[in-house]
Structure formats: structure tokens, C-alpha cells
Assembly symmetry: C2
DNA sequence: TGCAAAGCGGACCTACGGTCCGTATTGTTA
DNA sequence: TAACAATACGGACCGTAGGTCCGCTTTGCA
């Protein structure tokens, strides 16, 4: 695949749309209130341009999300401890989950929009698969652990966008409290493996 | 409020709609494919009737869901062990979660439709609040346990409709395997409390 | 400078949830 | 059982939002 590069104006518009969408999601109450037409208008482009650049709503959200998440994925893949690969599994599981939680706290609206979007369940998304595989692998490296696959799913469920949104938004729990609770819970899960 | 009883035809239609919706959801692939117009048509009534009877889509789904769930709620509230109130907490937590899981396995499409429906997060729903409160209370009765509130959320997240759908549907895991994994995981969580 | 190719934009289409209101059914009173 | 309110019916209708189409413009290459 030669994948020839896009024209200059196309690239520019892509960036503009990207920025506009980002801003709209950041400054909204309910992500569903931000329509594709809104985004196009805010970016100063036509709807056609928007849809050509990102395919559909889910595509746009995925792209936004991926770009935000990239630093964290880098850090996990090849960064220094505690996120990087050199970290002992237990500690790394905690770090990865904490990073995920923090990310979702920092990008609540966007993440919420993404997990809402479309009727496709979040579990089909390739980025979910990646995180799950990573988590499962780490869990299986912990001696005496069992059920890594299911445990990985549940740990990821513990940081799902709408739960995080509920705890931080409706319940008004402070960030540090949620982080602490997640850490406590995860620690418990990790320790229980070796005693069962 | 005296809440006068509805007319005979209204009551009859309510039942008909109810049954039609039930059947459509049971026999569909994606719950979003079942539109309100479909349900009205299948029930042989006009859309007006449908909306008058249930308010909106979420209302219909809630009603369906509640009616299906009623036996379990009865059993939890006032039934014999292991679901009923006389059961020791640890055991009851396991039983309640297992019952919830089985219910969702048996009513996958409907539950999925409900948790999808609307932009309102599942966490606002009063039935979620009820289960959460129940679970939290039980968890707090277990000596040495901490973080019952968050733990209750996570345990409920472990049986969320779309996860269950994914495990049973896409992954094709057999029912008993999922149940076993949930039981293992939950047991681990319950035991970890007393060692931390 | 000329000319494809790539891209633009917004009118347009479709589908779905939800409303409205003229008509039909119910049930009550005599 | 005739008459009349109250209640409910049903499907035409509406608004909205995602997504498409196509005539026009911009870009980039020779």
C-alpha cells in the first residue's frame, strides 16, 4: 500500500476539525449534545469534509481518543517504570490501571462519548483488546494467580468511563479518593490470587 | 393519589405491547434494530398507544426489565437462602451476583437494550442504586472489609450487560464457565478484605 | 498556464423517537 | 338502551441527527 499523502488543504482541515471537536467535547455537559453539524460548524468546514476525513462519528471519536491516549501507550510500551515493561507485574498492573483512571478523569466527556457511540460494544474495539491483552499477560506473570482473562476484564470494567463519570460527577468524589479506592481494590485482587 | 384504574382496552393493549416487545427483543440480533414502530406494528397498535402506555423507549424497556427481574428481587428480599436475607453475607453476595449473571445471560438482548438506551448512564437508574445498596450493605457486614461502596460498584461492573454479552456471544464462553469465573473472582475479592 | 485529481460544502435524504388530534371505544347514568 | 363524558386509539406528522451526493473549487504537477 503506497498510501499517498493527502493534499495540504485536507491535512489542514483534518487538524482544524480535530481541534474543534476536542474543544467542543471538553466544554460540554453531555457529549450527545455535540452533533456532527456542530463540530463542522465550529471547525468552519462543511459536513461533507468532516465525514470524508473521519468516516463517521465513531471514527472521529476514535481518532481523537487515540491521539490523546498516545503518550500513555508510549509510556506503557517503552517507557520507564512504573508504567514501562521493566516494572514487576504487580506494580505495573497498579500503575497501568491508575494511569487509565487518571486519563479517563482528565478526558471524561470524550471517553464517555466514545464508549457511548455506536451500538458496537466497547469490547470489540481494538484498543480495548490491546489493554486487555496487556493486563492479562501481566496477571498471568504473577505466581499463583488464576483467571487472568476474566480478572483483566473486571479490572478494566472498574475504570469504565460511565462509572468514573458517575463517581467523579454525580457522587462528587475527589480524584485522589477514587484513585485510592481503585488501588486498594486492585491490591486486594492481586493478593487474593496467591492465597486461593 | 387515588390512581384510578385504566380502561379495559388500555390494559389489554399494555399486555399485548409488552408481549410483542418481549418477543422482538428475544429474537433479534442487535436490540437497536428493534424500533418503536416495529414494536407497535408487532403488537398491532398505533405508535400513539405505545408511547401513551410507556412514555418513551426507556420507559418500555424499564418496564419489561422490571417485570422479568421481579422474581429475583422477591427472592432476594424475602426468599429462602441462599438469596434471601437469612443468608450469611459472603455467601449471599456470591448468590446475588450469580443470580444477576444468570439473569443477564437469560435476557441478554433486553438487558443490553436497557443499558444502552438513552444517554442516561446506568448508574442513575433506581434499580442500579438498589442493587448497589444491597451489595454494599452485605460487604460492610463482612468483618475486616473495607471500601464496600467501590467494591460493590466493581462487582456490579463485572456483570454488566455488554461484558456478559461479549463473553457469552463473541467469545462463546459457556454459561458455566462464566459463572465459575465470576464466583472465583468474587471469592478472591471477599477473602482479600480480611487479609489486607 | 493548463488540466486532472483531490477535495470542498451544504443541500438533501433517511430513519427514528416522539407528538397531535380527529375518531372510536368504554362505561356510567337514567 | 340512549345519550354523553371520559378515556383511549392510531397513524399522519414533526424535529433532529447521522450520513450521502454532486456541482464547484483548490491543489499540484508538467
Amino acid at each position: 500500500m503506497p498510501e499517498r499523502k493527502p493534499r495540504k488543504d485536507a491535512a489542514r482541515n483534518r487538524e482544524t476539525i480535530f481541534a474543534a471537536a476536542d474543544a467542543l467535547f471538553a466544554g460540554c455537559e453531555d457529549p450527545n449534545d455535540v452533533t456532527m453539524a456542530d463540530i463542522a460548524a465550529a471547525a468552519g468546514v462543511g459536513k461533507g469534509t468532516l465525514f470524508r476525513a473521519f468516516g463517521d462519528r465513531a471514527g472521529l471519536l476514535r481518532t481523537l481518543y487515540a491521539s490523546r491516549l498516545e503518550p500513555i501507550e508510549q509510556a506503557v510500551e517503552a517507557g520507564p517504570p512504573p508504567l514501562g515493561p521493566a516494572t514487576p507485574p504487580q506494580q505495573r498492573v497498579l500503575a497501568v490501571l491508575d494511569a487509565t483512571l487518571c486519563f479517563k478523569l482528565d478526558n471524561r466527556r470524550l471517553t464517555l462519548a466514545l464508549e457511548d457511540s455506536g451500538s458496537t460494544s466497547p469490547y470489540q474495539a481494538e484498543h480495548y483488546q490491546r489493554w486487555h491483552r496487556l493486563l492479562r499477560t501481566m496477571l498471568e506473570q504473577i505466581p499463583g494467580s488464576t483467571g487472568g482473562d476474566f480478572t483483566a476484564h473486571v479490572l478494566l470494567a472498574a475504570v469504565r468511563a460511565d462509572l468514573v463519570e458517575y463517581l467523579a460527577g454525580q457522587e462528587g468524589l475527589p480524584r485522589e479518593r477514587i484513585r485510592a479506592q481503585l488501588a486498594d481494590f486492585t491490591t486486594g485482587v492481586l493478593n487474593s490470587g496467591s492465597s486461593g
